[in-house]
Amino acid sequence: MLSLTPADMLRIFHNTTYDFIRPWRIMVVSTVAFISLGLVLLGVSWARTGTSVRYSIDFLGGTLVQVQFQQPPDVGAIRSALDAGGVHDAEIQSFGTNRDFTIRALDAGHSVSRGAAAEAQAPSAEQVAARIDTLLANRLGAGVFHIVRTEAVGPRVGSELRRGAVIAILVSFVITLIYLAFRFEWRFGVAAVIATAHDILTTLAFIKLLDIEVSLTVVAAILTVIGYSLNDTIIIFDRVREDLRKKRKESLYDTLNRAINETLPRSVMTHATAFAATLALLLLAGEVIRPFAWVMAFGIVTGTFSSVYVAGPVLLWIERRYPRDASDRRSAQAKAPKTPTDQARRQAQAASVRS
């Protein structure tokens, strides 16, 4: 081990000088298009059904019964059994294998008389669950299936959890804003925050496109993505900050590119390990965790993307509008890329400076 020379190191993307920020316009346009598509879909759903994404019963209230059958069942038979008992519009979905199904009922169904004491009242969610059990047993036979899990959430709890989730996302946003203001200069902070907001929007669009059911676990994934994306942006900005301290005579554009190139090996490695863990979860951890893993996997991608193509350009734009000091203003005006030929010329200059 001691005899190996540095040249034997396995290094990827070592000493690269790609101009990552050059295609920023295309990137920004495509991501804005992606987000817009997502927002349009969300808006359409909201107008049509009152909810923008597909919520789990955590947020909407209702009853969920997970059933495991001995043999793959006839879904039509399940549905008719439920309809006959007054549980209409139940959502029956396979859950993982073709023997596992979830039955989800939002409708309260017929009134279930509970002995002589109750006035006729709409049944609560847990009564619906018991009812589903009985109906299936009556129609399909009791030994054919067994109920693995029942969840019944009242509407009040559901709406409270929904509100809590939204507040959680907003609060974590604000807290990270405060932390960034504390640790970085305001320009970096604003750029990082906008990048994070971008990630929330793209993740929402992704959730909508894949029609992922939004449960508490998915909200946890969204918050983790926020943290992860911020990580990534901070790594780059930390390097930018350090490079700026060295007072090189290069524009912020170049410093940014340099920082991205320098942190590229680290980024690739960290994303690789995080993605490996997420992939393991996605493929092996079961159906309950799968939505979480999907969101996390996308989050890694969008987090990386936003650090370069959202935080970067925003930082540059802020710098142009509110430069840090007079010398920078001058250099910014002189070197700010306005045309492609401009950029090409500057790139040649920068390359010669580096070598």
């Binding site: 990827i12 009134s111 609560s124 974590s172 909200v219 490996a276 979860l281």
Partner: protein, 589 residues
Amino acid sequence: MTDLRYRLAIIAALIAASVWSIWPRPVVRRLETTNNVIRYDTLRRIPIRRGLDLEGGMHLTLEVDESKGVVANKSDAIDRALKVVRTRIDQFGVSEPVVQRAGTDRMVVELPGVQDQQRAYDIVKEAAYLQMQIVDKSQALDKVLPHIDAILKAKGLGVTAAGTPTQTPSNAGVQSLFTNATADSGKTAGDTTKSRSVAAGTSRRGRHDSAARKAAADSARDSTKRDTTKHDSSALAALTVGPFSQLIQQGGMPGEFYVAKSDVPTITHYLSLPEVQSILPPGKVIRWATDTVTIGQRAYQTFYVLDARPIITGEYLVDANPTTDPIEGTKVDFRLSREGGRRFQTETGRHINDYMAIVLDSVVMGRPPVIESAIGTNGQITMGGKDLQAAQDLALVLRAGALPVPLKVAEVRQIGASLGQDSIVAGLRAGIIAIVLVVLIMVVYYRFSGLLAVGGLALYMLYTMAALASFDAVLTLPGLAGFILSIGIAVDANVLIFERIREELDRGKTPRTAIDEGFRHAMSAIIDSNVTTVLTAAVLYQYGTGPVRGFAVTLIAGILASMVTSIFVVRTFYMIWLARARSPQTISI
């Protein structure tokens, strides 16, 4: 050198402490009591608490039920209810139950590993409010019947389809009741005898009111009910022909009324109308009974008109025990306190020859027995046709005490134990694959240094598990996923450090210096990025519930542990290596 020794000592101490805290130890679990026998089971387990989604069990969120009356001080009521529910759960025999407040007007009950979830649910939720109330003998309801009928007619309710003849009431019909009726007899309290005292039957006066009837909007509903009415001579005759009174019949004692089973929802609906409620006789209440009476071919449900003020309530109850009697079925014997017994005696003394209803949660249990003489401290509640288990559960609930406020279920989750086991297996599978992939990536790319990082990773996993065990945190399925995810993210700190070391080597620094510089410069980035993740996890903890909270806790524990291992432990490994290699020219990184 001593610096190195201190470091090694700390690391060794942490390892020892961690291993000790997660070492499998025998855990004694109380299994559910059946037939009042408590069974114990011991098994060896890693002492990390598992959430319901990994263990199986039941989660209940209960809140104050205000449908029957506004509750003034909800927070205080929940506190008192907590005590009662805890006692009940305690007697039920669930290991490691959780009974806690949640917010100002809610509480959470978690019963991990409970097998019979329906029983547990019933026991927790039952209000168990016991009251003894005297059955009204002043014909208070009879007096207001015409008014009720008038109100209902004014609302356009209670019609028969055209063509169905009205039943003519007659004394003969009522008398036939007394000879034909076969009722489940409830048991009397305490010292009274078994014979059913027959009240002086008040015969109904017939009323012909057919002319006043008019069609209602919901005639369809009523016509289906009417379809079941047949000319059954042994059936009870309707008392009057008003919309309310035609559906009820006088029972065997004053204040007792029969309603055909099919008409029960209608009557319940009528009774719930505010106009009807306002003219019900003051100081009296109407309560349904558990008894059903079969007369001829039809089944009837009973309701009673009772004095609103109970002569005694369950707060004086000190003990309750289930018994079975071959003739009378299952019962619960209860015993009152001395004070209660005295009160009871006085009150019953005042009501000799009256009927006393035993009312549990606003339901009359069995048939009100007659008070033949004053009753002391001992009494019985008839369970009707229910089995011994029901009697045991009722006795349990009466012993623990009545809920001070009625509770309703806001949320219930029941997870089977097999699902929990499957989730653990799936989680472990994913975890192993994730670890293998991460180790491969690190070792292939960073070689020897990668090995050091993997060593740090192993310790990281140990420390995190130990942290969860010692802080009594709950491991849930999302928590397990978070742990696996954090394995992928924990190496990030080391990647930062290693890349930095590589850069310093590029600049020509010696390995020793490069290592120092690497750790130093990477620190700020590591701290910043970890702090943001901890902050978002903290927010998640605050606003999340149950499984998601487990995720937040695992993530935070993992990040703190990873900072310790990446920075402190791996540095120590390097120091060991440097000490042994003396002046290395290169490092394998």
